[in-house]
Structures are given as structure tokens and as C-alpha cells.
Amino acid sequence: MRSTLVSLAAFALLAALPAWAQTSTISPDRIDAVIKSAFPNAPEDFKSRLLPDATMKDCTAHANNPPPAIAEAIQKSEAATIQYPPDGKFLGDWRKGEALAQSGYGLRFSDYPPTRANGGNCYACHQLTRQELSYGTVGPSLLEYGKLRDFKAEDAKTVYEKIYDPHVALACSLMPRFGSNKVLTIDQIKDIVALLMSPDSPVNK
């Protein structure tokens, strides 16, 4: 119920945004050329970052508010990218999940060569625990996330999918595709799922 409300609110907000991209007079070719020359020293393995994939092209073109047919197509194609834990378990270690939620390390041009694992940086955008006051509000509060869902097993699977690829639940979500974009590993995502869904996690205290 609560997640439905949040989704509804998100849709309402998105619908209220102006459709900038649709009114753009600049051709896609010009934009791609300008982006290419803006980052002339991009390392070879960074070059793919400059061009949006099909999903991001659609989301940008529709100001993150795609019409139903396109939203459905995005949900379908993104669902196909999800890899599930080989052991079938969705809950890892919430303590490691908390550390990942705090860490914003990784993938910045100053993070090479990497000195530690990428973080999830969840607190940048979400409230998670009562203890951490330094949290962002770009995404909804996730306080008591598991408790509000009675710690149901199917919700652990759903939240795994949301972290792995949020576009399956909400096409053109603003959240990064942590699994599909190879930001976090399957085990790291399981640790964050545990942070949200374990009864003994500080999220649910």
C-alpha cells in the first residue's frame, strides 16, 4: 500500500515536470558530437559512458515520464538484464550492507586504479536508519522498510530487483541500475537487501 502510494506520488511528480527534452531544437547528432568533444581525454573504458543506452535515450526523450507502451517495453527489456543469486538467497549481511550504504566510493575518474570496492551510497538519497542523520531526500525514506512489509520473502526478492535495476518497478526511475550497470556485485546487493529486510537491521529498529 505504502509503496503504491510512493509510486503514485512519484508518477504525479514526474507528470508535473515540464517536458524539456521534447521541445529541444538540438539534433541528437549535435548533442553526441558536443559530448564527445567535451571529454577528449576520456580513458578508453570510459567511452561507453558518453552515450546513453536505449533505455536512457527513451527516458531522456520523454523527460522520465514515458507513455505506457514505452514504459512497458523498458520494464521488459530491463527485467531481462537481472541476474539472480545462484544460491537463491536474497539476504546477505546487513552490517556489510550498512557500510555499502555509507560509502560513495567508486567509478569517479579520481577512483582509478580502485583501492577498494564500490559503494552503494544509499544515504546520499535515502533515509535508512534513525542513527544516521546525514541522509538525502532525492529518493523516498526507507526507514522500517522490512518491518512495514512484515519481512515477507517475496519483498526481499522485489527489493533485490529494485536495487539491481529500478526500471523494472518504475520505468525511468532516477535511481542508478546498480546491478545492470555493474556498479555493485550480486553479493553486495544481497548485503543491502539484508540491511532493508532483516528484522535485526537498524533500518527496522
Partner: protein, 272 residues
């Protein structure tokens, strides 16, 4: 989180902790108090030292051609600095490009004084604790000479196209985090951790903040220019290093200034 930002965050939390719930409102109040304290004594802003340094650099004969920048045309005629920043970015026929203040200073230093463009654009921004580079100091001087004026950049066809390009870049999502500028700067009341995010997509919000750049950034102990600010945004977005003076960087400045049109200039500002 960089050590300085952690310190700052810790200081903010220390400020906030004694207050009662609801925590979020109190958090915002605590942060606002901190910002007010920074603004209370504008002459304590160390950014003015860089504006002075920029003025000296502007007037002193330098470079392989040993000339000052007083022949540099910022759009209001050679050497005319007063009010020039308020009318930038603009199209310059001599360079056949729309230029923001930093790109124009780069062009003048390369063309008039004979400095190497390549040297000026390699590591163009200071690391934390280091003073702003020469172009940034000169840009700070130029911007400070439009203080009290409102942004009134010309909006001819070339400038309009540049602002439209900037808008397209502002909403364009890519990179491993699928971020656009609009991801963080299109909705009201949003924060990253405790840092409030200006809604640059809305003119009334843009008018309040765009005129504070270049600004002295307390957490980095140096003046940060608008080009540097955009470079830092792309760093956070997990994109590669934004080229100084690139068309994309100028386009984004043109878009932000168009959004802030009519808003006051108060440079150097004092930032977190």
C-alpha cells in the same frame, strides 16, 4: 566523502543534535544558520584576495608577447571590465564562438599574450587548499566588477542555440549511474546527504544561486569557478573529466545564466 566534507558534515550534525524533532526541519534550520554566519561579514570572504590577484594579472604585461589583457574585449569593448560579466556568455565574432567569462579569458591569454592554450587547459582547476588558477582569479575579478547588476546575457540566435544545447545536456542521462544534471536539480526540497540542491530548472531558484559563482568554497578553501563547478558535477556523475572551455561547458553556463536572467550578481559568493 572527502575528509573536509566529513568534518563539515560532522560540524553540522553537532550543530543539529541538541535540537528536538522533527529532525528534518531542524536540520534545515541548522544548515541555514551556518550559511547565514558565513554571509554575515562579506568582507571576510577570502575570495576577494583572488579578485585582487586577478586584477593585477589583468593589468600586468605578461606572456610571450608581454602585453596586458587591457586589449581583451569582453564584449563591451577592449579593456572594458565594468558590467561585462553580466552580459556573458555571448557570441564573439573574432573567435566565431559563444564564450563564457573563463573561455574568453583563455582566448585572450592565448591570442593576445601568446600563452599556450594547451598549458592553460591542462589541470585548469585547483586541488583542495590550492589557490584558484590564473584564469579563475581573472574571472573572479571580472565577475566582481558586475556586482549588484542583474544577469542580462544577450539572447541572439547564437546565444539562444547555446542555451538550448545546455538545456539538452542538463536533462541528458548517461554514465554508469544514469545521471543527468536534472536528476538532482529539477525538483524542490531535495538534498544529497545534508546538502540542499538548487532547483536550477526553475528560474526563481536559479536566480538565487547562479550569481554567487565564482565563489569561495569553504570546504575546499579556494575560489571555485563555474567551469570548475561543472567539472565537479560530472566527476560526481561518474563521467570523465570535462574539458575546460569545451562547447558543452559553455552551453551549460549559457543555460544556467539564461535560467538566472534578471537575478543578481554577487561574486565571489561564499559557498559551503
Amino acid at each position: 566523502m572527502k575528509p573536509r566534507r566529513m568534518l563539515l558534515a560532522a560540524a553540522c550534525i553537532a550543530l543539529i543534535l541538541p535540537f528536538a524533532a522533527p529532525a528534518q526541519d531542524e536540520t534545515e534550520k541548522g544548515l541555514e544558520k551556518y550559511r547565514q554566519m558565513l554571509k554575515e561579514d562579506p568582507w571576510s570572504n577570502p575570495g576577494f584576495l583572488d579578485a585582487d590577484r586577478g586584477e593585477t594579472l589583468w593589468m600586468t604585461p605578461r606572456g610571450p608577447k608581454n602585453v596586458s589583457l587591457e586589449a581583451c574585449d569582453l564584449g563591451k569593448g577592449p579593456g572594458r571590465v565594468d558590467g561585462a560579466f553580466a552580459e556573458l556568455p555571448r557570441y564573439f565574432a573574432d573567435a566565431d564562438r559563444v564564450m563564457d567569462v573563463e573561455t574568453r579569458v583563455l582566448w585572450c591569454m592565448a591570442t593576445l599574450q601568446g600563452f599556450s592554450r594547451e598549458q592553460l587547459t591542462t589541470k585548469p582547476h585547483p586541488a583542495g587548499g590550492q589557490p584558484v588558477k590564473e584564469i579563475g582569479a581573472i574571472a573572479t575579478f571580472i565577475a566582481s566588477k558586475s556586482n549588484g547588476l542583474a544577469f542580462a546575457a544577450p539572447l541572439g540566435p547564437k546565444e539562444k542555440e547555446m542555451a538550448a544545447l545546455g538545456e539538452a545536456l542538463f536533462v541528458r542521462r548517461s554514465g554508469p549511474f544514469d545521471f543527468a544534471c536534472a536528476t538532482c536539480h529539477a525538483e524542490e526540497g531535495r538534498r544529497i546527504r545534508l546538502q540542499g540542491l538548487p532547483v536550477l530548472a526553475q528560474p526563481e531558484a536559479a536566480r538565487k544561486v547562479v550569481g554567487e559563482w565564482p565563489g569561495y568554497r569553504v570546504s575546499a578553501s579556494h575560489v571555485m569557478t563555474m567551469q570548475h563547478r561543472l567539472y565537479d558535477c560530472y566527476w560526481q556523475m561518474r563521467m570523465p573529466e570535462l574539458e575546460f572551455g569545451s562547447e558543452a561547458s559553455v552551453a551549460l553556463v549559457a543555460y544556467l545564466v539564461k535560467q538566472a536572467q534578471g537575478g543578481p550578481i554577487s561574486a565571489p559568493g561564499l559557498k559551503r
